[in-house]
């Protein structure tokens, strides 16, 4: 059986023009903000359009101005709730600005340049990368094609791309400071093997600050992956190491939840009495009553705002110098740290 025939011919601008008794140009102008049309004509056009159910064909429009409202979002680690929150917020923000987000899930394993190729074919007018994939090559390609790239929480690269970062430096600092102040003497850091850029900064700044605030340097334990299981694994190694410790910083909440469960199930130690824990990101699971995890909050709404803003600025001045926007973080105290 071959394909049936059906599709009703969509209504075009000439249909509207005919009905309103004007030219196609008039119709076009009526739908172009800031074009010069007599208010009265425009009125007529809009009315005719409404009656016919006319919708501007953005594809055709994009073809002429060689710039679509499509924006690619390259995302990895969608199992991490924090990533999802970012993606959702960024999408919403884009839509609010009348863009359309194309979602490209891409794990580190996959070939990112292929993904970007798929986007470029659709003349996306920008690409937002939240994935951990080293995007060096692909960014270069976009830039050279005049497609702006915004990197979220990623290492800077050689090309002039805008970046939006949470203050990862401060994440480590705040955690170390808080734990020290709350009486911890021997700290530990839980992170993953092959940490991403953000995690690397968090861990480095934490370790540095521990050097400043505490007598003992912090121990470091790593899970294979940057997820719940990784947290479990690192924590379990820490516990069996027979080293003594009374404070832990996990570089992500996602790992911290695993660590917390491992403490709860694998030991008699009480949090926060014997052991205090701080995570990072403030995913919604932190406030679940089963966890009540103290953490360093990143405001994803602000982040999304900054990302889209960067994109818009880049549209209006393609050759402006690359910007790096660092957003503040704050310590949220819940029940895995002592209140004093």
């Amino acid at each position: 059986m071959k394909s049936d025939e059906d599709k009703p011919r969509p209504v075009t601008s000439v249909d509207v023009a005919l009905k309103a008794g004007v030219s196609r140009s008039a119709v076009s102008r009526s739908f172009t903000p800031g074009a010069s049309v007599a208010p009265e004509t425009r009125e007529r056009v809009l009315k005719a359009a409404a009656e016919l159910g006319y919708r501007v064909n953005q594809l055709a429009r994009s073809l002429t101005n060689n710039r679509s409202a499509l924006v690619g979002i390259v995302a990895a680690n969608m199992d991490n709730p924090f990533r999802v929150e970012q993606i959702e917020q960024i999408s919403r923000r884009l839509i609010a600005q009348n863009f359309r987000p194309i979602l490209m899930p891409a794990e580190a394993a996959e070939d990112p340049s292929h993904v970007i190729g798929l986007l470029l074919e659709y003349s996306v007018s920008g690409v937002i990368v939240t994935s951990d994939t080293p995007p060096e090559a692909i960014c270069q390609e976009c830039i050279s094609l005049g497609v702006p790239v915004v990197l979220v929480n990623k290492r800077g690269i050689d090309a002039p791309v805008d970046r939006v970062l949470m203050d990862n430096e401060n994440c480590g600092r705040l955690a170390a400071e808080a734990l020290a102040q709350k009486g911890c003497r021997q700290l530990a850091l839980i992170t993953s093997e092959n940490p991403s850029y953000s995690l690397e900064i968090r861990q480095r700044s934490f370790l540095e600050m521990v050097g400043e605030f505490c007598q003992q340097p912090a121990m470091v334990f790593r899970g294979a992956f940057q997820n719940y299981e990784g947290g479990v694994q690192a924590m379990s190694e820490l516990l069996t190491s027979a080293r003594s410790f009374d404070g832990i910083f996990c570089v992500t909440d996602y790992m911290a939840l695993g660590a917390l469960d491992q403490i709860r199930l694998g030991t008699e130690r009480k949090v926060p009495e014997d052991l205090q824990v701080i995570g990072c990101d403030d995913i919604r699971q932190c406030s679940w009553q089963g966890y009540r995890l103290s953490t360093i909050r990143q405001d994803t709404a602000k982040l999304a705002e900054a990302v889209v803003e960067a994109l818009l600025n880049r549209f209006s001045s393609p050759n402006a110098p690359a910007t790096t926007r660092i957003l503040p973080v704050e310590l949220i105290e819940r029940s895995t740290t002592r209140s004093q």
Copy 2:
């Protein structure tokens, strides 16, 4: 400061044609699977294209065949990990089939027809709705415009739309059966106020089956929302109700996690010894060692496969009768039910 000048003129098919010494059509055909080109010509074209960095402009292509590879995904409840899993799987599947998913997060509160309008402007060739928003009106509109709609886990509507559902009926049945078999005498159901279509079926079939398997009918407790907090709330009401019970079915895992935490924190009762719990969906949190929730699994990969398949079928036969595909579910036993 106005906008700088920069964008390099993108390379088009005529550039390639010139370089390869052929016509534009030859170029076009070389990039159209199944078009008739001499292998030798095609070779030359591909080579020239590669050297020039040519990429087919899909926007222009879509304009001619009046059908883009853009597919809208309307999604709500992205805080629920199960939803995210669906979205990710569907996106991946779409991309694998060379489509591009446009993500439209949309809460029930928002106006869905506006969202769809945004998609239609971009000539999406299909729309996938996983949101709980009653999509009746918008679906009608899409259909009448010849844009197929696939509903995921949603109530059927008057228009001829394809649907993909998990076997919600069986979710309730399996849960009731398992709990009864494992020795529960007095069951309870935890669900939310204003349950979505799926939840409604799950709860109804559960209640019916309890009538069949148990002496006592099941009690029903509802949280305000279909999320963790809703689970906490319903469970806490159940606990303070002073009614006795020894088995619970939560219509979603997301709620079950809240219920479980509430049991752990608000009572002395042990799961599964005193009380058995079964959830539904099998989100990844279920296998976290802090929960180890027994549940009814839905295979999101299969679901995504079915969704995209439905879409493809609809493309090839727009007028085929609407289909409803029901995917099997299975009981996954972890530690919140007794093994015997």
